[in-house]
């Protein structure tokens, strides 16, 4: 169960957002995708999930080609995702947000559900049990009957991840799951994500929070200007001079600024006042 990008390309008009990216994501590992703003990280996620079409090349899960399928078909093939901006069903309860994920499996018997209430009750109970279990895992059980839109931001992030997990996907794509989370929440998230690591799941995390990425990921793909700049373990990535130059920064840059700042202070002669 390996997710494979083969010579992937994405173009918006003349703007090439992803250029000749080939790589493999193995199950059982947590993969990180990092890179500066606009490097094409979200584009990769969006293409994998079917939100964007692929301009050239292909994406496949084992031997099944995903690119070209409709978005919902990709989802039903076992690809689940979260969004860089949280996209929950705000006016539905937390529980319903998860329940609705069973639609593809259960829609066939809607009529039975409508006509025969006991059947509906039984099925609903079964769905809800499964959902509640997951909610407990994310400490969201207390919110089950609240509207998703009314949850605090951090809880919404968790809920979105829970929603992606409900149907036990083969591939889990997380687009900046820590964005907007405070420190405690990030720590909690890190813990939960490492617990979710599983032999039969490919996990991919796009993130700017280097602490989280370095702590969690087994392998990191660095994107730059739509191209694959580097891939390797966290240690290798941090050591790579290419990556430092493009993304993490080098020592020299800092020295330049230091000099300029001193220059300014000398020129203005500001004497900073202590405040209460």
């Amino acid at each position: 169960m390996t997710l494979v990008f083969d010579n992937l390309r994405k173009q918006y008009g003349n703007n090439v957002a992803i250029d000749a990216v080939s790589t493999r994501f193995e199950p059982g590992l947590i993969h990180g995708i990092i890179g500066p703003n606009g490097a094409g990280k979200s584009t990769l996620i969006n293409m994998t999930a079917g939100s964007y079409t692929v301009s050239a090349g292909s994406i496949s899960l084992d031997d099944r080609k995903l690119s070209g399928l409709k978005k919902y078909q990709i989802a039903n093939a076992g690809i689940a995702r979260t969004y860089q901006n949280i996209r929950l069903f705000d006016q539905m309860t937390v529980l319903e947000n998860l329940e609705v994920c069973f639609y593809p499996q259960e829609v066939g018997q809607t009529w039975k559900e409508v006509i025969w209430p006991p059947f509906a009750k039984k099925r609903e109970a079964r769905r809800q049990d499964a959902c509640m279990e997951l909610l407990s895992f994310f400490n969201l059980q207390g919110y089950a009957h609240a509207y998703a839109g009314s949850l605090p931001y951090g809880r919404q992030r968790m809920l979105e991840i829970a929603r992606a997990l409900v149907t036990n996907p083969k591939v889990l794509l997380l687009d900046e799951p820590a964005a907007g989370l405070n420190h405690h929440e990030t720590a909690e998230l890190t813990a939960k994500l490492s617990e979710l690591k599983s032999q039969n799941r490919v996990m991919i995390i796009v993130e700017h929070d280097m602490d989280l990425v370095m702590a969690l990921c087994d392998r990191i793909v660095v994107m730059h200007h739509g191209k694959l700049l580097f891939q390797g373990t966290p240690g290798e990535v941090q050591a790579s001079s290419d990556v430092q130059l493009a993304y993490l920064g080098t020592a020299n840059d800092i020295d330049d600024i230091k000099a300029a700042a001193q220059d300014r202070r000398a020129q203005l002669g500001i004497r900073t006042r202590q405040r209460s």
Binding site: N37, Y52, R87
Partner: protein
């Protein structure tokens, strides 16, 4: 034959100009507030009634009025309607700015209903004759008959549309309006008075609509409280056809719709061998609208809103 073609072209251009004046109002409001202002057709109607009121108060007999007086009344009326538009926005739409998209739309339906009945109560429900702002001169152009009114409408409409285009694309006010349409919070943060910008839109849209109403009333020689409904719907259709939110789109859509209508009348019976008569004209227009939208889901010149791009914009 040539005469008929010329004739029909002029007819289509005239109808198209009037549609365009109204369609622009729909498009501007939509561009800024993402709202369909169903009361916009009534601005068109109010324009005619305001001008009529002006005429009967200040002039009485149009025959004796000088060009200056007529121009003054024209502008007085359209400005008055512009102000009404601003007032309506403040009362009926502003409280709903953060509501669902459906709410201001339905509020505008309420406004529309109130205005139509209000005028019915004040001025009577029946159609009233409207004096022509233009002398009834006819010209013969290569076998086609063109009236001075038609030429006047064409010129007036193009001048107004050009003015609007310049306003929106070249003037500071226009740039500010476009900025507000893109992001109200950011505009506010930059010191732009968002309410003023929205008011400007609700001033100029109704103003153009009112101008359309006066031109229309003097072209057809008639006005009625319900005159905004049908034409408003057509102009709205035109705006959608061209891509709502786009100013050139509104104009293009209007002229296309007008040409389709004229062609529907002139050619449908011939093309279908007499099976489909002129009564199927609107079926033809709507069918073309639907076909265009199937190929271009955001209209001819509209910018398609792709799935994730809205998210993208917020993020970046």
């Amino acid at each position: 034959m040539l005469g008929t073609i010329i004739q029909q072209t002029v007819n289509a251009l005239t109808i198209g100009s009037i549609y365009a004046l109204i369609a622009l109002g729909y498009t501007m409001v939509y561009g800024v507030l993402r709202m369909i202002n169903f009361a916009h057709g009534e601005m068109f109607m109010l324009g005619a009634y305001a001008a009529f009121l002006g005429l009967s108060i200040f002039i009485g007999d149009i025959g004796g009025a000088g060009a200056f007086a007529l121009t003054a009344i024209f502008f007085g009326a359209v400005i008055a309607v512009g102000l009404v538009g601003v007032g309506i926005e403040r009362i009926a739409y502003k409280p709903l700015r953060n509501s669902t998209r459906l709410a201001p739309m339905l509020s505008s339906l309420g406004v529309s209903l109130s205005l139509v009945t209000g005028i019915q109560i004040l001025a009577g429900p029946q159609p009233v004759g409207f004096p022509s702002f233009f002398p009834a001169t006819r010209l013969d152009v290569l076998g086609g008959t063109v009236t001075l009114v038609q030429i006047g409408i064409l010129i007036a409409a193009f001048v107004l549309m050009f003015g609007l285009y310049m306003l929106v694309n070249r003037s500071r006010a226009g740039i500010i309006v476009r900025a507000v349409s893109e992001s109200r919070p950011t505009a506010q943060l930059l010191g732009i008075n968002v309410n003023l910008a929205i008011s400007l839109v609700f001033f100029s849209g109704p103003l153009l609509g009112a101008a359309g109403g006066i031109l229309y009333a003097s072209y057809y020689g008639i006005m009625s409280p319900s005159m905004g409904a049908v034409i408003g719907l057509k102009a709205f259709t035109a705006a959608i056809l061209g891509g709502i939110g786009s100013i050139p789109g509104a104009m293009l859509g209007s002229f296309i719709l007008a040409f389709v209508e004229v062609a529907g009348t002139a050619l449908l019976p011939i093309v279908s061998g007499g099976i489909l008569g002129t009564e199927y004209r609107d079926v033809l227009s709507f069918t073309i609208l639907i076909l265009v939208l199937l190929v271009r889901p955001a209209g001819i010149l509209g910018t398609p809103v792709s799935e994730e791009s809205m998210v993208y914009k917020r993020e970046f």
